[in-house]
Symmetry: C2
Subunit: 203 residues, 2 copies
């Protein structure tokens, strides 16, 4: 919580503010929770719930997802392989900035290509947690909250991941969440436990 | 400062975390301090000092500048008018994300075109503070910490703002800092006073 600043007597001690300075202030490390999985697998739902739990316990947390990125920073990009690559490249770079700023930032994007996820990881290898939100395409298709699978089956959406475009499963994710069988609470608990074990959060 | 989380008993109350939730927690509003001016006018120096003062008083603050953006998110961009426009567009979008996340985020880029700055402003019109770091090109050229003006005069850097490319001064900036005459402390004090007057910081 911020103190009042006396503008008549401005002083400071740090030339810049380091990630260590921020982690001391915040009581946790910065980190990137990279959620990956099919459309409707539950990435955003878990990411938002994790954010809420973290925020309510006093952490700095943020979610990058389609709502705040696809219509803003990446509104110039489509769904071709090249644009998907650039989409994930930019999200990786922005998540690295949030991590540098001390946040536990979650990204909730399909991010179907292994090579693109690995490039994002390479930006912050010590602070990058790949979370595979695993759910059979048949289950995702039953959920289909935005009617996207139906449109894809009708051929109205070309290159739809899991139907007409590939999804490359993570080979060594830090965490796998099977949302077809786990409750949302259990998924969140797994993420929190991982962050505690890794020393991002105090146990 | 974060509390410990009991992973065996996960609960949360907010479906998402709003900017209001964040401002209550942080004790200040999110805001964008958009520093604009010639190379070597003092943008980064003032932005870093403002960040230090804010951080040391308990605020969440961050600086986007050439060091963390030009070599990362925008490393695919050059200095043509089109690339400068895209550079500023992305920085505007990223600063809007940081503002949404509750930060007082400073951007320290020449941002020479009025139209590009106005587009950035339009993303967060109520939280956008354009700060014109005003310094005669002759003074900037004397400082020339990176030797860029000299290279520009020698024709080694094409399209260098203030020498061979235009700088469009802000027409109605929220603040003007004349770094040829004001001390760094005085510049920082002016920014803090503006934030207090605008209700971003408590007075």
């Amino acid at each position: 919580m911020a103190d009042s600043i006396k503008a008549s007597n401005i002083t400071w001690h740090h030339a810049t503010v380091s990630p260590e300075d921020r982690s001391v202030k915040n009581g946790h490390q910065g980190a990137i929770l990279w959620f990956t999985g099919l459309s409707a697998s539950g990435k955003s739902t878990v990411a938002q719930a994790v954010q809420s739990v973290l925020f309510e316990s006093g952490c700095q947390a943020y979610v990058l997802d389609g709502d705040n990125v696809r219509h803003g920073l990446n509104k110039d990009l489509g769904f071709s392989p090249e644009d998907r690559e650039e989409n994930i490249r930019r999200i990786g770079e922005v998540s690295a900035l949030f991590c540098d700023a001390g946040f536990i930032v979650s990204t909730a994007f399909i991010s179907p290509y292994r090579a693109d996820r690995d490039k994002a990881r390479a930006l912050c290898p010590d602070r990058f947690y790949e979370i595979f939100v695993k759910c059979p395409v048949e289950v995702c298709e039953t959920r289909d909250p935005k009617g996207l699978y139906q449109k894809a089956r009708e051929g109205k959406i070309p290159e739809f991941t899991g139907i007409s475009a590939p999804y490359e499963e993570p080979e060594k994710p830090e965490l796998i969440l099977d949302t077809a069988t786990l409750s949302l609470e259990a998924c969140v608990a797994e993420v929190i436990q991982m962050l505690q074990k890794e020393g991002i959060l105090q146990a």
